[in-house]
């Protein structure tokens, strides 16, 4: 799969040379999460109660932020047309795009999570489950995001539209991601939530590239 790796290599190179998409996503994530103490007050009990929710919601928004660049620049300069003409199946190309989107947004967010969780006074006992949930859940966000990004190619107000399309679909990942972190607190097994997240990933992994590739073919017609 040399072309699969080539797409990822190219996307990463572009992301790091053009002012760093990854740095932008993680900066947004940290800043947005740290707005909450200003909004709801610095009491440690309240912050600890809502910390996992804040981390998940801001991670979701950070993943959303970089979506409009997933296909848009490639579509505008004709790269997408070339990718389609290449022997690599379009579904696999979408998968490569999702992977590079995750490497640029999901992974930096995951790396920044311990610091943000610490500042939001999250109970250290639930940090491993929060991290595990994000590790399984953020690829789901990238996969569902690819459908929204592909569908809105050429649309007016594409950026706002993507959030309207993608956010309702990502609610299950949010629920079970936060559920896993919260379940760790009262010593009940959060592994159930992690299993459901895993099931979501297993479900999104083949189906989302299929839908996104169908949408890309429409955009390229």
């Amino acid at each position: 799969m040399p072309s699969f790796a080539a797409i990822i290599r190219r996307d990463l190179r572009l992301a790091f040379r053009q002012g760093g998409d990854g740095a932008m996503a993680v900066m947004f994530f940290v800043l947005a999460a740290l707005l909450f103490p200003f909004g709801i007050g610095p009491e440690p009990e309240i912050l600890a109660r809502v910390a996992s929710g804040i981390v998940w919601v801001t991670a979701l928004l950070a993943a959303l932020l970089a979506l409009d660049r997933m296909f848009l620049t490639d579509w505008e300069d004709g790269t997408l047309e070339l990718i389609r003409l290449s022997p690599l199946r379009l579904e696999l190309a979408v998968l490569a795009k999702c992977l590079s989107h995750w490497l640029v947004t999901g992974l930096p967010v995951l790396a920044a999570t311990p610091v943000v969780a610490l500042m939001l006074r999250l109970d250290p006992a639930s940090l491993p489950m929060l991290m595990a949930g994000l590790l399984i859940g953020t690829p789901v966000l990238s996969l569902f995001g690819s459908i929204g990004a592909a569908l809105t190619l050429g649309a007016r107000r594409g950026g706002v539209l993507v959030s309207l399309l993608v956010l309702p679909l990502e609610i299950p990942a949010l629920i079970f991601g936060v559920g896993a972190a919260d379940a760790a607190l009262d010593a009940s097994a959060g592994s159930f939530d992690l299993q459901i997240l895993g099931a979501l990933l297993a479900f999104a992994l083949p189906l989302c590239p299929l839908a996104a590739a169908a949408a890309l073919r429409q955009a390229l017609e």
Binding site: I147, L151, T152, G154, A155, R156, R157, G158, L161, L164, L165, L167, P168, L169, I171, P172, I175, F176, G179, D182, I196, L200, F203, L207, A211, A214, A215, Q218, A219, E221
Partner: protein
């Protein structure tokens, strides 16, 4: 089915059938409303229980419309029937309307019963998410300069949403059992009495018929609109060629 997929035949058949279906719909709706209004008040909820005769059928229709939307979208994507595209596109505002009615009546019902306009009850929450799925579909279908591209993109979204509706429903139910709100009165008391069940079923039939009538009216309007657009384009093209010819003659 393919026989009825011809737009011209659809227009012909619907012209004949539509008035009769509309009359039947009005009769069933009036019967359901009268029976519902005369149903005995609930021993616990009083007369507010009558909101149910609008609320519950609207909730059923909100799901029914989404299925109609998704099935029409699948047909539009697979066989590229123009009529299925129009049916999908016109189902969406109707479904959003039924969902809005369901949410508003539910809120009105909740105010006297639960003492609050909104609770994060599992059913309310999934209905709210469904409402946003409809809004997303409508926004995407109207977001392109080329209307055909919009409908086709929205069809993909409708199918993705359809697969996701059960997952969202399950996750919201699960989320709700963890954060059980205290104020919700459980509905599983005595079974529903026939004095309530019969008007409810009649109203469900009336709402389904209402959907069909509105859908056919909207589809006819959309077909006529397409025709007008095509004619206008034709007129504009012929006018511009005449003008262009006149221009070249003048310059020559």
């Amino acid at each position: 089915m393919h026989r009825f997929a011809n737009p011209a035949r659809f227009m012909r058949v619907s012209t004949i059938v539509l008035p009769w279906v509309a009359i039947v719909t009005a009769l069933v709706m009036v019967a359901g409303l009268v029976l519902g209004f005369r149903a005995p008040p609930d021993y616990q909820q009083g007369d507010t229980v009558k909101i149910m005769f609008i609320h519950v059928p609207a909730a059923w229709m909100s799901l029914f419309c989404y299925s109609s939307l998704a099935i029409s979208s699948a047909i539009a994507l697979i066989w590229r029937h123009p009529l299925a595209e129009i049916a999908a596109q016109q189902s969406a505002p109707l479904g959003a309307g039924f969902t809005a009615v369901c949410l508003i009546t539910g809120s009105l019902w909740g105010a006297p019963m639960w003492g609050t306009w909104w609770v994060w009850d599992a059913r309310l929450t999934s209905e709210l998410v469904l409402f946003f799925l409809y809004l997303g579909y409508i926004a995407l279908a109207n977001a392109f300069d080329d209307p055909n591209r919009g409908v086709r993109a929205a069809s993909v979204l409708a199918l993705v949403g359809w697969i996701n509706v059960p997952i969202i429903k399950f996750s919201v139910d699960w989320w709700n059992t963890i954060h059980q709100p205290a104020s919700v009165i459980r509905m599983d008391g005595p079974k529903i009495a026939s004095s309530i069940l019969i008007p409810l079923l009649i109203m469900a039939i009336a709402f389904t018929l209402l959907f069909v009538v509105q859908l056919v009216v909207l589809m006819r309007a959309a077909l006529i609109e397409r025709k007008i657009r095509a004619l206008r384009q034709l007129a504009a093209e012929s006018a511009s060629t005449e003008y262009g010819l006149a221009g070249t003659e003048a310059s020559a």
